[in-house]
Amino acid sequence: MTAQAPPTPRSSGQAPAGAGRAAAGWSSRTRAAVARPWLLLAPALLVLAVLLLWPLVRVFLFSLQDYGLREITTGEPNWIGLRNYGEILTAPELWTVVLPNTVGFAVLSVAGTVAFGTAVAVLLASLGPFWRTVTSSAIMAAWAMPAVTGTYVWVWIFDADRGVFNDTLMNLGLLDDPTNWFTNRWTFYAIVLLNVIHHGFPFVAVTVLAGLLGVPKEMLEAAEMDGAGAFRRFFSIVVPQLRQVFAVVIILSTIWDFKVFAQVYLMPGGAGSNRSVLNLGVWSYVESFGQNRYGFGSAIAVLLTLLLLVITAVYVRTVLAEEER
């Protein structure tokens, strides 16, 4: 029948005439086929290489130096080897406050954003075209609103003296005196979580929706005829189909939520005066760029990249492994 065969994991795209791995006697067609991936890649690689390769190398080189304003002015290097890394890894607040905040927050926000976004995508997929357009466009507003503005709006809503939240709670009699929600670590991060999920779920919703709309209807109908309920159909058919999409969404959300900066920095007390809410982005900024210690900041960047590599390794392997089959 038609496309009932589940999309096979992409075994190598067998270009016509077979990209033979044998060495001798290539036809020009084979050579063209073999060079094709590189030709396709070339423009993108060129941009990335020219623009980012050297800066990335420089970041690594800075991380091995005590690179401050004086070094920037004179252009003379000041090598100190791995001392920056040592200082970072032995900073007590990194392990007691910064990393726990960052990791805990990332876990919650990725889970929340992906779950909520997926739920919304399912809802959207079940709507008729008109309402789908209206609703998805409305959701876009949350994504389109500048993160800076969004953060300030949430700060207003929870403002201690004039915020809508406190006002409503007091009117309902649930609160006697206005509370400053930003001084307590847990309520502070609850607000940040709200902010980040609100800003981030549209991306997940739109991406998952795109994937959902590509799931062959026949498969779902066949399963329904076999008596599978909605949840069963979702988890047994849709989710596996969307595995790649989910993997990418989770990887990217993890990376972004680990690097959250503005949403914390702009909150009252989030710029460093409240030491219990420091996360990696703010801590890094305050310790390094705020103090003209660019070598230190570069070392943190390198460590963070490695950390993210490790964390996303599981998903990345899922994504890549599927292809090998």
Binding site: A49, L69, I72, G290, N292
Partner: protein, 430 residues
């Protein structure tokens, strides 16, 4: 296959390297002040509402005097430090720039600024400069920042609220506390006295007023004295107004100076430590506030005036400036004489030249005179260390204030932690 792959990679890499080197060769010739006939200047945005017209005038006068054109760029305060750093890194520094008083020692220490002592003595104004600004602009016993303008923070109060509550402007700490109590009783829903948790410069007057010190230099070592008994007394008084008297608000625990101004302009605050530049901003935010507020120097513990930070800007010359004499001509024009006076008037600040101050000091304007008094009799400076910027970035003082105001730590613990951190950072240890 391998050979083709490698060849493709080699070709691509080669192209990249070629492109990069062609581009690199083509650069150069960048750098501040492209030609001797033009001077590039960076000025901070927002200080003077009439800045554009002002600099048009200056440009004309400058061209008449030197024959060179002026290229003025306005920079936002918030981005300025980053832009300075990237411009130094990329060799695109201006010839002259406005530098905040805490940045001048920092850039001087990095070797980015040119010393001005010779120029100043040749121009004969060495003794005519405001001391606080000179102190802030001196590094390693050389002057790097030309005093341009400064402001000072004093106690600003809502005259209507005071009248209704039947209180007078306080002159001692006891009077201040009584006034706050009376205000709180008359206006239970408003903030009697704003005690912000994230406004560093509003804390130091109380430290100094009680006889304490922020930090002192002994030889080459800095030591912070925020935890000395006197400092603690001052901090305890100021935070006590909030934690014990309840004269502030829960929101104020995380307030910055901008939030204080917002609340004051809305008429919700009885009194607050605010800068001499704020009256204009208050009226602009809320025209109804005009004529309904006044200022008084920050009272010392038993009378007198508590020292308050002279915040302001220098005009500095970059080492990369090609024609330093031309740059000095501009510096002199801006910081002394007619243009300095005009700038100060238009922006609501005090000029950096003492002889120009006399006129301002003679003013009887209730929104100028108290600040002027504070400026002359109660002006102080934060530690003029190149590392002070790092202390500010770490928000050491604000952290202390916030933990006290939120009830997490008591004054003794919080101030001890802050003093320790400040000492460490000032001495460059991280």
């Amino acid at each position: 296959m391998n050979r083709t792959m490698r060849r493709s990679v080699a070709v691509t890499t080669g192209a990249v390297v070629l492109a990069a080197s062609v581009a690199a060769c083509g650069s150069g010739g960048e750098g501040g002040g492209e030609s001797a006939d033009s001077l590039s200047v960076w000025i901070m945005q927002g200080t003077n509402p009439d800045a554009d017209a002002f600099f048009d005038e200056v440009a004309t006068a400058f061209e008449e005097e030197t024959g060179a054109t002026l290229d003025v760029q306005f920079v936002e305060w918030g981005d300025a430090h980053d832009r300075f750093v990237t411009s130094i890194a990329g060799g695109t520094t201006p010839d002259v720039a406005e530098t905040g008083t805490t940045w001048t020692p920092e850039f001087a220490d990095a070797g980015a600024l040119a010393p001005l002592d010779e120029y100043v003595s040749d121009a004969g104004v060495t003794d005519d400069l405001v001391e606080g600004l000179v102190e802030a602009g001196t590094y390693d016993e050389q002057l790097y920042g030309m005093p341009w303008y400064a402001g000072v923070r004093s106690l600003v109060y809502n005259t209507e609220m005071f009248e209704q509550a039947g209180v007078e402007a306080p002159t001692t700490w006891d009077e201040l506390e009584d006034a706050a109590a009376a205000l709180k009783e008359e206006f239970p829903d408003k903030v009697a006295v704003a005690v912000p948790g994230d406004a560093e410069f509003t804390v130091y007057p109380w430290v100094w007023g009680a006889g304490g010190e922020v930090a002192t230099l002994d030889g080459d070592t800095w030591t912070s004295h925020l935890d000395s008994p006197e400092s603690q007394e001052g901090i305890a008084f100021w935070t006590g107004l909030a934690t014990e008297g309840g004269y502030s608000s829960t929101g104020a625990t995380t307030w910055r100076e901008t939030d204080v101004l917002d609340a004051f302009a809305a008429g919700d605050v009885g009194m607050a430590v605010m800068g001499s530049w704020t009256p204009g901003a208050i009226v602009e935010a809320n025209a109804d506030m005009e004529g309904r507020f006044a200022a008084v120097p920050i009272p010392g513990k038993d009378g007198g005036i508590a020292p308050s930070v002279l915040g302001g800007s220098h005009l500095s010359m970059f080492e990369t400036a090609q024609d330093k004499d031309l740059a000095w001509a501009f510096l002199e024009m801006m910081t002394t004489g007619e243009f300095a006076q005009q700038w100060a008037e238009q922006s609501g600040y005090f000029p950096g030249q003492v002889s120009l101050l006399d006129e301002t000091l003679a003013s009887t304007d209730p929104l100028v005179a108290p600040f002027a008094e504070q400026f002359v009799d109660g002006g102080a400076s934060v530690p003029a260390a190149p590392t002070y910027g790092a202390v500010q970035a770490k928000l050491t003082t604000s952290t202390m204030m916030q933990s006290i105001l939120s009830g997490e730590q008591d004054v003794a613990t919080a101030s001890a932690a802050a003093a320790e951190e400040m000492t460490k950072i000032l001495n460059g240890a991280g």
